[in-house]
């Protein structure tokens, strides 16, 4: 598909040139995936999905626009004419300095696993069935009278990306991916409870997959009998999964230079200032083997590199794509990624890695809690607000801890606060174990004075 996309890009560039479009870039992506859907502990459907799509962005002077399509056999002259009309209608962007140039690769990481690319349908079905069964076995080992994987899916396959520009430069890469999510339901003492397994990786890491699916089984039972706690202020121990989800939604968008430049980030004007606790650092690292965000170039051909965003609590840099870097007369940090093929890039992290100097064991963290909650599951966290750092969620899987002892499971309470307070003056300690959750590598976080709305 790479060669096909490249030939398509060349044909389109020729037509764009004829149509008077001065500069252009092409972004193509493709994938072939096996998708399995689960219902009532059985695999209900299997799908083999092939998709290729591409986008072209072009400019005339300081006017820019884009088109995207999944039509892999288009008439390039039609595309050129249509793009020209859209470009001409767009008002000038006074900050426009052209498309990225000088394509090259930066840091390299392993992102292609032959065991995934070579998997056939029957093996994929077996893989999923095996791990569903592991979840149920673990649930039973933890006291479940009945247990099943109610619903969910697994997707496994190969993808690729090609970027090219009208100056004749191009880069491509291929990667593999496995993602699975499913809900394990269990019954015990006449009560039902459930837990959602969610896992993504670039390789077939059976050890980690087993850990996640067994955790799903165990946690589907552990929260039976959960109830709300009284409203008030509590310590909150976030496990790595829930810490990662909050960081992804509330913190990561605030590092985007575009959000800073457009007044949508609370970190505007804070380079060199302490924005989180001095013991904490945050690194954008595209060089991690099998990292979901690992890439040697971004979506506009700029080499990627490892860098500290926050070092010892102090904000060192925002994340830039070519456009936002040019606006400030800087170099792109290689963080330009696209929402869809026709979209311009916006600055986004690759892999976000948290570092801390306070490395406590899980038991030490729990012992430190006089009155608090441990958070293992939540809903609604994505409604937290990156514009002001407001952080909130409803607890679905938690534990009440008093004087260092776990008392009972908790659900149905709303937790709230502000991420910058949580990571600075309210941060009591951080855990020892760094875990990869999607593209975020984070440890458990113990936070003080979190608002809890309950009974």
């Amino acid at each position: 598909m790479y060669e096909y996309m490249l030939r398509l890009a060349e044909r389109i560039f020729r037509s764009l040139n004829k149509a008077g479009i001065e500069e252009a870039e092409f972004y193509g992506s493709w994938g072939r995936n096996i998708v399995l859907e689960i219902s009532n502990h059985r695999i209900k459907t299997a799908t083999i999905r092939e998709l290729g799509e591409y986008g072209i962005r072009g400019s005339i002077g300081k006017r820019v626009a884009g088109l995207a399509s999944t039509d892999l056999n288009p008439n390039p002259d039609d595309i050129a004419e249509r793009l020209k009309n859209v470009i001409k209608a767009s008002p000038e962007d006074r900050d426009w300095k052209g498309f990225a140039k000088n394509y090259s690769r930066g840091v390299m990481a392993r992102i292609y696993d032959d065991r995934i690319s070579d998997i056939d349908m029957d093996s994929a079905v077996e893989l999923l069935r095996h791990h569903m069964d592991l979840s149920v076995e673990e649930a039973r080992r933890n006291g479940a009278e009945e247990s099943l994987v109610a619903e969910g899916m697994m997707s496994i396959g190969v993808g690729g990306v090609v970027v090219a520009n009208s100056d004749g430069e191009h880069l491509y890469d291929e990667y593999t991916s496995l993602s699975t999510f499913y809900i394990v339901k269990s019954k015990k003492d006449g009560e039902e409870s459930s837990f959602t397994v969610f896992y993504m990786d670039r390789r077939l890491n059976e050890e980690r997959l087993r850990r996640e699916t067994q955790r799903g089984g165990e946690y589907s039972v552990k929260f039976i009998g959960a109830k709300p706690v009284e409203s008030g202020r509590y310590k909150l121990l976030l496990d790595q999964y829930n810490a990662a989800m909050f960081m992804d939604v509330v913190l990561e968008p605030a590092f985007s230079a575009l959000n800073v430049q457009e007044g949508r980030s609370p970190l505007k004007g804070k380079i060199g200032a302490e924005v989180i606790g001095e013991g904490l650092s945050i690194v954008d690292d595209p060089s991690i083997d099998w990292g979901i965000g690992s890439r040697s170039f971004d979506d506009e051909g700029i080499p990627t590199r490892r860098k500290h965003i926050v070092r010892n609590g102090v904000l060192e840099t925002y994340l830039y794509n070519y456009y936002t870097a040019m606006r400030e007369g800087k170099k792109s940090t290689g963080n330009g990624f696209r929402r869809s093929p026709a979209s311009p890039t916006t600055p986004q992290a690759t892999n976000l890695v948290f570092e801390s100097d306070k490395k406590w064991s899980w038991d030490e963290l729990v012992e430190e809690i006089d009155r608090g909650l441990i958070l293992h599951g939540m809903i609604g966290y994505w409604m937290s607000n990156p514009v002001n750092g407001a952080t909130q969620a409803t607890v679905t899987h938690g534990f009440l801890v008093e004087r260092g002892e776990v008392k009972h499971p908790v659900k149905g309470v709303v937790i709230g606060g502000n991420i910058y307070e949580w990571l600075s003056r309210n941060l009591v300690a951080t855990g020892r174990e760094l875990l990869k959750v999607g593209s975020i590598f984070i440890m458990p976080l113990l936070i003080d004075s979190v608002n809890v709305a309950g009974k």
């Binding site: 859907e37 459907t45 999905r49 009309n85 006074r94 109610a150 007044g263 709303v414």
Partner: protein
């Protein structure tokens, strides 16, 4: 273009018992004006072929958008391969044998927005942007335009042939305001099943300014004090709540999987007697769905009548497995996606209170508003939900008097619906070209709404 006869003939030769085909061609025009600069002007086209086959009751799907005359053979081969692999799992699918559908439906519109000059569109966005920036306290303003023309052909070896074209259009604004170091954001939009005439009929500058003013006021408002409240919910938040917290639990595939709190409750009380909930593909203001993606006509389905659960929502397969009847709710995001059971427009039927009476009868509490709401999430297996509402008002002496922000409500949906003790007459249903409902990695356009309602004893929390 794909030749349906060739596809059916080829599948028959391979020995499939049943095949259906989805041919999809969608165009989405998207303009984002970010602080006065066109950040994105794009036209996205989706085009491809998806097939589903049944062999010995085992179901397989495949799809592709690769070019080439014989691509359909590869797609059918892959679907057969997928169906055969299902023998390992033992999951047998049966489809409800309904009457054959043959139809061609085009949603109402007068002017195709793709025929309108880009300059005309941009002028409306720029004027709207200027109106928002005239509001004190606004630090960022993004105006967005979206237009979708979605053309689908569905055909099956039963003889179905349904062709639908749906047009959805709208403008949205995202305002960020700052006051005394506090930043607040509001997103709101207006969309309709229509063409360009919808855009011409609305004063977008006033709309933009209203949203900007609300963002500005919200940035100055205090955060609501967490606790239990008597709440009046407006039309918009009622729709969100019903869709997320209740509607998903009525979806037949979730019930079939054992993931719904409503499993085994047909005929039982799940809400107060004031509550009647419907799923309707053709209600005014909502999304338009005349046929689902299995060619079943979508009609009005009453899921809850006066508090009693009457029906789930079905595809052809869940209608068989759950002993129901097809309700026209089998939907897929596009040609490449498998069928899921999805809602269309979910709303509560109006009651007999006026909105004024609701407030007068509620001496103190909170008036929860949908404008600026971020949405919600539910765990349908246990019914726990959480929603972030827009800026809302504290009710004192029967009047909404004090604006508050950071309103997040949560609870158990069945308990909440049983605590509905008053329903107003003012039904409003809305849809959006900017989003929809996400499930199983697929996005579906939906609508939702209802009248104002009152709920006792609602848990409200808040961020800072």
């Amino acid at each position: 273009m794909y030749d349906l006869d060739k596809i059916f003939y080829y599948a028959e030769k391979l020995g499939v018992d049943y095949i259906d085909v989805r041919i999809h061609d969608k165009i989405y025009e998207n303009i984002i004006l970010d602080n006065g600069v066109v950040r994105e002007y794009s036209i996205n086209q989706t085009r491809g072929l998806g097939v589903r086959v049944l062999i010995d009751k085992y179901m397989g799907y495949a799809s592709s958008n690769k070019p080439g005359e014989d691509v359909y053979k590869e797609v059918v081969d892959n679907a057969v391969k997928a169906a055969k692999a299902m023998r390992l799992t033992g999951f047998e699918s049966r489809l409800y044998p309904r009457r054959t559908s043959k139809d061609k439906v085009v949603s109402e519109y007068r002017i195709d927005a793709l025929d309108i000059d880009s300059e005309v569109k941009l002028k409306i966005l720029i004027d709207t942007y200027k109106a928002t920036r005239s509001v004190k306290g606004v630090v960022s303003s993004t105006i967005r335009y979206g237009y979708e023309r979605d053309h689908r052909i569905y055909a099956s070896s039963w003889g179905d042939h349904v062709e639908t074209t749906t047009r959805l259009i709208g403008i949205g604004v995202y305002e960020v305001a700052k006051s005394n170091g506090v930043m607040e954001r509001i997103w709101d939009s207006k969309s309709s099943i229509a063409g360009w005439e919808f855009i011409e009929g609305i004063d977008w500058q006033s709309f933009g300014a209203e949203v900007a003013e609300l963002a500005s006021k919200a940035s100055q408002a205090p955060v609501i004090k967490p606790g239990k409240y008597t709440a009046i919910l407006d039309n918009e938040i009622v729709g969100l709540l019903l869709h997320e917290a209740f509607g998903h639990a009525t979806e037949g595939d979730i019930v079939e999987a054992g993931g719904s709190i409503l499993r085994g409750r047909i005929g039982k009380r799940v809400a107060s007697e004031h509550v009647t909930i419907v799923d309707d593909g053709r209600v005014k203001g909502g999304f338009f769905l005349a046929y689902d993606d299995e060619g079943t006509p979508k009609t009005k389905t009453v899921t809850v009548e006066k508090g009693i659960l009457k029906s789930y929502l079905h595809s052809l397969s869940t209608a068989v497995s759950l002993n129901g009847k097809p309700t026209g709710n089998a939907r897929c995001q596009d040609y490449s996606s498998p069928i899921l059971v999805r809602q269309t427009n979910t709303y509560m039927e109006p009651g007999d209170w006026s909105v004024d009476e609701l407030f007068q009868d509620t001496r103190s509490g909170v008036y929860i508003r949908g404008r600026g709401a971020m949405g919600g999430q539910v765990d349908p297996s246990i019914g726990t939900f959480t929603f972030t509402a827009g800026p809302s008002y504290i009710i004192e002496n029967g009047e909404p008097v004090k604006l508050v922000r950071g309103v997040m409500m949560s609870g158990s949906i069945l308990e909440t619906l049983k605590n509905v003790d008053a329903v107003a007459r003012d039904l409003v249903v809305r849809t959006s070209v900017f989003g929809g409902c996400g499930k199983g990695g697929q996005l579906a356009r939906v609508g939702d709404g209802g009248p104002h309602i009152r709920v006792r004893n609602l848990t409200v929390g808040g961020g800072r």
